[in-house]
């Protein structure tokens, strides 16, 4: 069975600095998707970034980028120029390529604090 591991329960970053959140996963599949979701105190789940395993190029979305290492089964999220609004829980998630879009396996999350 697929698993997703986030080894950092909590992280802290100074405003305007850069922080990297770690995620590793285990799967025997060769095609799959990986995601980072943000959950602020409002509880809303917000998709931050998405990576297809067959694409070698790392996904980027404005200040958010990933370092996808398929052989190492690693999928870290880098947040540049951190802002106070980035403070939230961040969840890494995995989905098989052929699965429905909601059949996600989530990690346990990393709580990110941003210091002014």
């Amino acid at each position: 069975a697929q698993t997703v591991t986030q080894s950092q329960p909590e992280m802290s970053v100074q405003e305007a600095e850069t922080v990297t959140l770690s995620c590793t996963y285990d799967t025997s599949e060769s095609d799959y998707y990986l995601f980072w979701y943000k959950q602020p105190p409002s509880r809303q789940m917000i998709l931050v970034i998405r990576q297809e395993a067959y694409k070698q190029q790392n996904a980027t979305e404005n200040r958010f980028s990933v370092n996808f290492q398929k052989a190492a089964k690693s999928f870290s999220l880098k947040i540049s120029d951190s802002q106070l609004g980035d403070a939230a829980m961040y969840f890494c998630a995995y989905r098989d390529y052929g699965g429905s879009q909601g059949n996600l396996i989530f990690g346990k999350g990393t709580k990110l604090s941003v210091k002014p």
């Binding site: 409002s42 509880r43 052929g98 879009q101 909601g102 989530f106 990690g107």
Partner: protein, 115 residues
């Protein structure tokens, strides 16, 4: 924002009582999902539906049942609530499975406390 409404937003109930949570969508999406979120566990899939009257189990389905008699409504029922089912429950919806587009939308969650 996608049209997803979860009701109730909060509920407190007693052990052994039946509880039904409702998810209502106005997007006409085919797939609907129920997750639970517990501290230290992230979100875990309970059940999902891929059409009217078509449902399947997720990772943590024991103690839960679901029904979908209309495209827009997906009900989650706890036949006899237990304290271990105290959690935040999220509904989500999506269009066709797989594909290159990511269109998974989440509701705002229901906080359920079983005393």
């Amino acid at each position: 924002d996608a049209g997803i409404t979860q009701s109730p937003r909060h509920k407190v109930t007693e052990t052994g009582t039946p509880v039904t949570l409702r998810c209502h969508q106005t997007e006409n999406h085919r797939y609907m999902y129920w997750y639970r979120q517990d501290p230290g566990h992230g979100l875990r899939l309970i059940h999902y539906s891929y059409g009217v009257k078509d449902t399947d189990k997720g990772e943590v389905s024991d103690g839960y049942s679901v029904s979908r008699s209309k495209t827009e409504d997906f009900l989650l029922t706890l036949e006899s609530a237990t304290s271990s089912q105290t959690s935040v429950y999220f509904c989500a919806i999506s269009e066709a499975p797989g594909g290159s587009g990511e269109k998974l939308f989440f509701g705002s969650g229901t906080q359920l406390s079983v005393l």
